[in-house]
């Protein structure tokens, strides 16, 4: 049980990190997530399936799938072409990279709709997410769901590096922890680079970015792509953890990601980007824990699994209320909750 909460918290925490970038750092309320998350899962599934087919020397199948759509399968096709049989070890990595790429592509679509057609962020995200439902179905080969038994990235990683001596639960947890810490660490590093600092200033005061001679449209596009890339990566990991990719993976994911971000902000106050990043993971684990508790013992209060979405919504409202109330106190140093603009 506890491993389940931790693994889910870490895997979905990477998605929450993506939301943290778009909602908090870029100040760009991005709903693309509901499309980029399953896109990542689907791409991972398709790549794994495509590679599987290559391994039984039916390379043609990969081509058929590739023609069907999406960058995920395109990557799968590339993998099928460049990776000769016997190099199945590369499959998990390719699946995760494909998941990232598929998510990033969805982000770029939203960015294009927003910047070129001047559509407000939320609507741009809804358009992309709606369109990606069909694209994701195509990536999945016309089926709503695709099993990931062979070449499962998370499990493979765990088995290759930890050996058979460790139980599956523990090795899954270690694999998820490694993935989440790697992403969080790289993110922390990124936000200390020149480009990362500029991105940080972007949502805060765009004029200061323009004044530095930086094209704000390119910078925001990069940020949205990065955010959705992480969401896609999280989708690929989630598919790996669940053992299948599903076109409906994205439903309700924005709310749960936001709840994770906000719970983290309630939990730990800090102005340092490193702490802000790691507290998102903490918030995500806490969120999964609360959801688990509601599922397991909720019946005591008359809560059924059907009520979990309502619970998520109430959690967000509660977090905003608390941080607003806390924000009114003098000498509150951190920016908790939303920005007052």
């Amino acid at each position: 049980m506890i491993e389940g909460i931790l693994v889910e918290g870490l895997v979905y925490g990477i998605m929450a990190l993506g939301l943290f970038i778009s909602f908090r750092i870029l100040d760009f309320p991005d709903l693309t997530v509901e499309g980029s998350f399953p896109a990542g899962a689907a791409a991972a599934g398709a790549i794994v399936a495509g590679l599987g087919r290559t391994l039984v020397s039916r390379a043609g199948a990969g081509v058929g799938l590739g023609a069907a759509g999406g960058l995920g399968t395109a990557a799968g096709l590339a993998a099928a072409v460049t990776v000769p049989t016997g190099l199945a070890a590369a499959a998990p990595v390719l699946a995760l990279l494909g998941g990232f790429a598929a998510g990033a592509l969805a982000g770029l679509v939203t960015s294009f709709i927003h910047h070129r057609l001047k559509v407000p962020p939320i609507l741009a995200g809804i358009i992309t997410m709606t369109g990606f439902y069909s694209i994701n179905l195509r990536i999945l080969g016309g089926r709503p769901n695709l099993p990931l038994i062979k070449n499962n990235p998370l499990l493979d990683f765990a088995r290759t590096w930890l050996g058979p001596g460790v139980s599956q639960d523990i090795s899954l947890f270690i694999a998820a922890l490694f993935a989440a810490l790697l992403v969080a660490g790289l993110m922390d590093l990124f936000f200390h680079t020149e480009i990362g600092i500029a991105m940080g200033a972007m949502g805060d005061n765009e004029a200061s970015v323009v004044q530095a001679g930086i094209n704000p449209v390119s910078l925001r596009s990069l940020g949205i792509a990065l955010a959705n890339g992480l969401v896609g990566l999280s989708g690929a990991l989630a598919a790996s953890y669940q053992g299948f990719a599903d076109v409906n993976f994205g439903a309700g994911i924005v709310a749960s990601g936001l709840a994770s971000v906000m719970l983290g902000e309630l939990l730990i106050k800090s102005q340092f980007i490193g702490v802000q990043i790691f507290r998102v993971l903490a918030g995500s684990i806490l969120f999964k824990g609360l959801m688990y508790a509601a599922r397991s013992w909720g019946y005591l209060a008359g809560i059924t699994p059907n009520d979990l979405r309502l619970l998520t919504a109430l959690l967000i409202i509660g977090s905003i209320t608390v941080s607003k109330y806390a924000g009114k106190k003098p000498k509150s140093l951190s920016r908790s909750g939303g920005k007052n603009r």
């Binding site: 680079t193 020149e194 805060d204 004029a207 323009v210």
Partner: protein, 263 residues
């Protein structure tokens, strides 16, 4: 160096007709010169700076910065030539970032890479730059800018505006929102930075004394046009009352011309 020719800017207003805010501005500012721009509200002073910076689109005319025609460049591209400080101390800085990060962002123009933004040597250089402000900010580099006072924030914005060695500095009533003490400090810093960084500067102000003290040349605007342009010996002899008188005379002349036309 700034070279402006036949500049026109209009804003849409109700009834389908556009209101001309700048109506044929010609202005040439040689390198290293500081020009004060004065005039009543609605004269188009701020719009002139916004047009140079690219914040508002031009209807006609051209703007050359350092001999290069920038009239069609987007704002971010023109920023490479420009340092800018606006009236609102919040406008030029990112409040939720540290002083150090703000300085690192402003220290160079143009696209960024994946280098560490604040290396040890860079941090040391920035420390010394901030120490010049003489406000004790060098010991608060890791604090968020939102915790600074308006005067401190404006001084920091001024430093950020010149840090990357732009060729032109645009100041739009940058001391108007400050108390007299802080305004004086920022005024002194302005003068020092303009000399130290060898900047060509345009200063929009309502303060006649500031206009005379800060600049080599005073340009007077009214209803989107330049009415008077005083520099050299003539400007050197002027006091505040002379400037006000000149302002009245120039406007009076314009009224007279209008009467002639109508009569």
């Amino acid at each position: 160096m700034i070279k402006i020719k036949g500049l026109e800017v209009s804003f849409p207003q109700g009834g389908g007709e556009d209101r001309k805010v700048l109506n044929g501005i010609d202005l040439e500012v040689p390198k290293g010169q500081t020009v004060s721009i004065i005039g009543s509200n609605g004269a188009g002073k701020s719009t002139l700076l916004n047009a140079i910076a690219g914040t508002v689109p031009l209807c006609a005319g051209s703007i050359l910065l350092d001999g290069r025609d920038c009239s069609k460049d987007p704002e971010w591209r023109r920023s490479s030539y420009l340092g800018r400080v606006r009236q609102n101390p919040m406008a030029g800085t990112a409040g939720e970032m540290t002083i150090l990060d703000n300085l690192a962002l402003a220290a160079k123009k143009g696209p960024r890479g994946l280098h560490l933004a604040v290396s040890k040597t860079k941090a040391k250089a920035l420390f010394e730059q901030v120490a010049q402000l003489d406000m004790g900010l060098e010991n608060r580099l890791r604090e968020n800018v939102s915790r600074l006072s308006g005067g401190q924030r404006q001084a920091l914005t001024l430093l950020m505006a010149v840090l990357s060695h732009p060729s032109v500095l645009l100041l739009d009533e940058h001391t108007a929102a400050l108390d007299p003490g802080n305004a004086e400090i920022v005024d002194r810093l302005t003068k020092r930075f303009i000399a130290e960084y060898d900047l060509t500067a345009l200063i929009v102000t309502h303060d006649m004394k500031q206009a005379l003290d800060q600049a080599d040349r005073v340009v007077m605007m009214h209803e989107g046009r330049i009415l008077a342009d005083v520099s050299g010996v003539q400007k050197g002899k002027m006091g505040v009352s002379d400037l006000v008188e000149l302002f009245r005379q120039s406007r009076g002349k314009e009224y007279a011309e209008d009467r002639d036309l109508l009569g």
